[in-house]
Amino acid sequence: MQGELLAVGHSLAALLYVLGVLVQTLPIPYASIKAHGPQLMKDGVISEIAILSVSFVTLIVSWISQMFSAAVQMPVGPDAAFGIIIAQLSAIEISILLLIGFVSSTVILAPLAFAISSITSSILTFVTVALIIWLIVKAISGIIISSWLSFYIFGLVMFALPFRIGRSFGTMLMAASIVAVIMVPIMPSVAVWLQGSIGYNTALAPIDNTVSKIKNNPNPLLVVRLITQIPEMIGNLMVSVVVSLVLFPFAYMFVISMISQSVSRLLGGSSGTSVSSFVLAPAWDTGRKLT
């Protein structure tokens, strides 16, 4: 399939070049029409070079992916990280739903239930949207790893269409496939790493520090300080969960979108459609309908 697509792209590049030659040889006095000749020839040559460098792009993508994995010390693999994330988000969602359900079940606590549901409704929406985003990321990750090269080559074919009709879409597909295959598979691992890092530095490190002080100097005041630190630790742990699992996917998708648009512009197209709109927009719509 990829070979056939490459053959189509190669033929289109040759067609572009020959069309350019044809336009240049036309015996007409219109300079504006004749100016299309060199432009078409240049596009044909660029398309041909892009088609011939597919193996090089594959090599570069593989190298950058390995470099990212080595640079960011991943605590767990993508599959395990995804399991951890889904478990945590589901636990948060179920806890909120159970709390509201439990309080709503009694008539006396009905005003309290109303207050809790109005406070937690936005949290519930965010958690549901985050859950949907992670599920979309999981689905996309599997598709992208197996068939990113097909998307890239299809983008090349679009890029090689005459008179630049598919140039913007082609470069968008090429850029999105390259950026996504590098960045999407490591997304769950980065989220878990971020959660661990924020959680340890803001919640566990101060407790650890106080405990080691108590061990060296058994002062009752330090024990009181430790007790006061526990609610703060729980709050900071919740913050680390919310930042890394609920807010992080939005930020990460935004970064992927920005990088894709930049690469798309670098490849010669316009900024095109935002890649994050394929993930964030459906997730928002579904999340709002569900909550």
């Binding site: 190669h10 070049y17 020959v18 030659v21 044809l22 240049q24 040889t25």
Partner: protein, 90 residues
């Protein structure tokens, strides 16, 4: 389904290649025509300089286009030769 898509893409490639060959042939024909028309304007016994310059431009364009067409064909032939040599060596 995939076989059908592959077959269609193969057919499409063949059609595009045929079109490319036809356009190359037309370009070669046009090259001769444009070259001659250019010389016709250049050598015509008329006192208008613009027309003579237009003729000169046509001749130049025709020569340049023929050169680029030959270059493209030569490079593709060279590439296919290199690939065949590598394939034979492998």
């Amino acid at each position: 389904m995939l076989e059908f898509v592959a077959f269609t893409l193969g057919q499409l490639t063949q059609k595009i290649a045929e079109t490319t060959t036809s356009i190359s042939l037309i370009s070669m024909g046009l090259f001769g025509l444009t070259y001659l028309v250019g010389y016709l304007f250049k050598g015509s016994p008329i006192p208008w300089r613009d027309i003579k310059e237009f003729g000169n431009g046509l001749t130049n364009d025709a020569i340049r286009a023929a050169l680029f067409l030959s270059l493209w064909t030569s490079i593709l032939s060279l590439l296919s030769w290199v690939v065949s040599v590598i394939a034979l060596a492998g």
